[in-house]
């Protein structure tokens, strides 16, 4: 009998604390598998963030540091510049990266930091209980937007990947989704490519992963997958926003 699936060595044996139907766990697995397959496991440093993934150090089988809310790219900068041979990644939610950490992510990209950013966009603040995020869709309800996000009042959701693709020194930006197995496989490819980009010293790479938060969205796990496909993908189109090949490298 041949082995077709094996738990990656990139994850510990710990069971995750995520809610049923939350795709944080899938994203973790993909990152772990990518590091494992590229042979980077013993050589990687992960920079966690403040959000539901704050406990990700329990799950990733690499050295992890939990960073202040929004500041992971700055911490990663300090680490990567000091030990450039290590693979350094951040793992950040949309509140963390697009709201409080907007300055840090823009400037990490702007400096062309040779790090990989895993950006989980679930259109809400999960950990603090369902407040509006910069990525919350128009009409989507949140505890701080009880009648749904009103664009005339809160603007339109930030498209971080499109925005960061404009930053000249950013090398590779792609948006993927986890709503079905086909897209999960594509997401994995993108993550592998992002880490490869870093290994080849091409500079800043970011994979935006459209993710579910059934708890914050008040939906069942299955309905949440459908909601992502139906509502998020049209606003946040999938695909490569900037390919490493397009970029004239600074380094």
């Amino acid at each position: 009998m041949s082995m077709i699936f094996k738990r990656t060595a990139g994850l510990t044996d710990a069971a995750t604390h995520y809610c049923p139907g939350c795709t944080h766990g899938i994203a973790h697995r993909l990152v772990a598998e990518a590091l494992d397959e590229l042979g980077l496991l013993g050589n990687t440093i992960g920079c966690g963030s403040v959000g539901c993934s704050i406990l990700s150090y329990n799950y990733f089988n690499v050295d992890m540091i939990e960073c202040l809310h929004g500041r992971a790219p700055a911490v990663a900068t300090g680490i990567k510049r000091s030990v450039p041979d290590k693979t350094v990644f951040t793992y950040q939610g949309d509140g963390d990266l697009a709201s409080i950490g907007a300055a840090e992510i823009v400037h990490a990209a702007h400096r062309g930091e040779n790090i990989t950013v895993i950006f989980i966009n679930n259109a809400i603040y999960g950990m603090t209980g369902g407040q509006m995020a910069p990525t919350t869709l128009p009409g989507q309800k949140a505890t701080t937007a009880p009648a749904g996000r009103k664009p005339e009042f809160s603007g339109l959701p930030l498209k971080m990947s499109e925005m960061l693709a404009q930053v000249p020194a950013a090398a590779y930006i792609e948006r993927v989704s986890l709503h079905d197995p086909k897209h999960v496989r594509r997401a994995k490819k993108a993550i592998v490519r992002a880490f490869t980009c870093q290994v080849e010293a091409k500079g800043f790479s970011l994979i935006e992963i459209l993710s579910t938060c059934p708890t914050g969205w008040n939906l069942s796990p299955v309905d949440a997958l459908g909601w992502l496909e139906e509502h998020m993908i049209p606003y946040y189109p999938l695909g490569v926003l900037k390919a490493p090949e397009e970029v004239e490298h600074v380094r």
Binding site: T128, T144, S154
Partner: protein, 382 residues
């Protein structure tokens, strides 16, 4: 049943108190254990035709309320330890520019991400000295929802009277606990309206020229008077200056307007102090446990009392000295390593020993914790 009876969280009581006080504008960023304040106001403010906005972080939240206050609004933000740290720079700006605002800190365990979101009272000194530079600050606290409501209203009153930021130092237990609140009738707690200049359009207005009573009438920014606001030391027009005499004068004015009015902003409660030989001093949720201990031991005939401070800064040193004059044993009950204890020590002087009864493990201090330490202090053993 009274129509004013409510069963709410402390955070809701705070939001309700702010609405009662005439809150016009709230800007904030979510953080447990304070978020229910924002979530309540996200419903109530728009319903009242007033403004609620979620900002991208606490730095901008604090800056937004500074801007909104200047244009004539009663303003507030709410956060917890990490966010309070991010607000410190702009809090200092509000001190310097003398901008009325209320900043709520529902304390949790720190430093950093710390012990979320367990109870702590570790920000007592951050409230006092968190921002850089010499300054005075007002910080109020409460141990029950009736007082959370009242102190929130008083915070707005003090902010408007003295043109100063006021910190509301609540804690996780008070913020999240549910209990009874009797919502005061309109007018039951007097409200201080903003003091606006009587100067007409076209007449020179000096935003930083104190009246005889020291108060600075405001003119809504962008309205009829043209003036400047700055975080630099400034003259009476609000334009920057580094003239030594003006710098010194402004610094002293900003400190004196608080320190010379301690008695006007001191709120406290005393329980069985008249004949007390053992005096506990406490505030916030730890005062609940202290009160419980005091009542139990009174029942057993011990001469013990409690001074609960609702005003923490400026520290009511005279009151504390007065209340503890006949005390044989003074102990401060707080959930930190002795932040207010230091202030009490300074107040009562070196003749009297001041003890600390605390818990710093993220757990609410209980009456039995206090009792156990008291027995040791009183030489009774455990």
């Amino acid at each position: 049943m009274s129509k004013n009876l409510a069963f709410v969280q402390g955070n809701e009581a705070c939001a309700m108190g702010a609405m009662y006080a005439g809150l016009d504008f709230y800007a904030g960023y979510p953080i447990t254990p304070s978020t229910e304040i924002a979530e309540t106001l996200a419903v109530q403010l728009p319903a009242a035709g007033k403004k609620f906005i979620q900002m991208e972080d606490e730095i901008s939240s604090m800056c937004a309320i500074v801007g909104a206050s200047l244009t004539g609004n009663k303003v507030m933000t709410a956060t917890s330890g990490p966010g309070f740290s991010l607000m410190q720079e702009a809090l200092g700006y509000a001190v310097m520019a003398e901008i009325p605002c209320v900043v709520v800190n529902v304390q949790r365990g720190g430093p950093s991400t710390g012990n979320p979101t367990h109870v702590s009272q570790g920000d007592v000194n951050q409230a006092r000295w968190g921002t850089h530079g010499d300054h005075s600050i007002v910080a109020l606290s409460a141990s029950n929802h009736q007082d959370v409501f009242k102190m929130t209203v008083e915070a707005f009153n003090i902010a408007e009277t003295y043109r100063t930021p006021v910190v509301l130092l609540f804690d996780e237990v008070v913020g999240h606990m549910r209990e009874k609140l009797i919502v005061p009738e309109p007018g039951e707690i007097p409200l201080v309206a903003r003091l606006r200049t009587s100067l007409k359009e076209g007449v020179n207005y000096h935003p930083y020229l104190p009246r005889e009573d020291g108060r600075l009438p405001m003119s809504d920014f962008g309205d009829v008077h043209r003036y400047n606001v700055t975080g630099l030391y400034h003259d009476m027009w609000g334009f920057p200056t580094d003239k030594p005499e003006l710098v010194q004068e402004l610094l002293r004015h900003q400190i004196n307007k608080i320190e010379n009015n301690v008695h006007r902003m001191t709120f406290y409660k005393s329980y069985f102090l008249e004949d007390a030989r053992t005096i506990l001093i406490s505030y916030g949720s730890s005062a609940r446990a202290a009160l419980s201990t005091v009542k139990q031991r009174r029942n057993r005939g011990e001469s013990i009392g409690l001074l609960e401070l609702n005003t923490i800064w400026p520290f009511p040193a005279e009151l504390v000295r007065e209340c503890t004059r006949n005390a044989e044993l003074i102990a401060v009950v707080e959930m930190n390593v002795g932040q207010l204890t230091q202030a009490v020590k300074l107040a009562v002087g070196s003749q009297k020993q001041v003890h600390l009864i605390n818990r710093v493990d993220g757990q609410m201090i209980a009456d039995k914790d206090i009792k156990n330490i008291l027995r040791i202090l009183q030489g009774k053993g455990i």
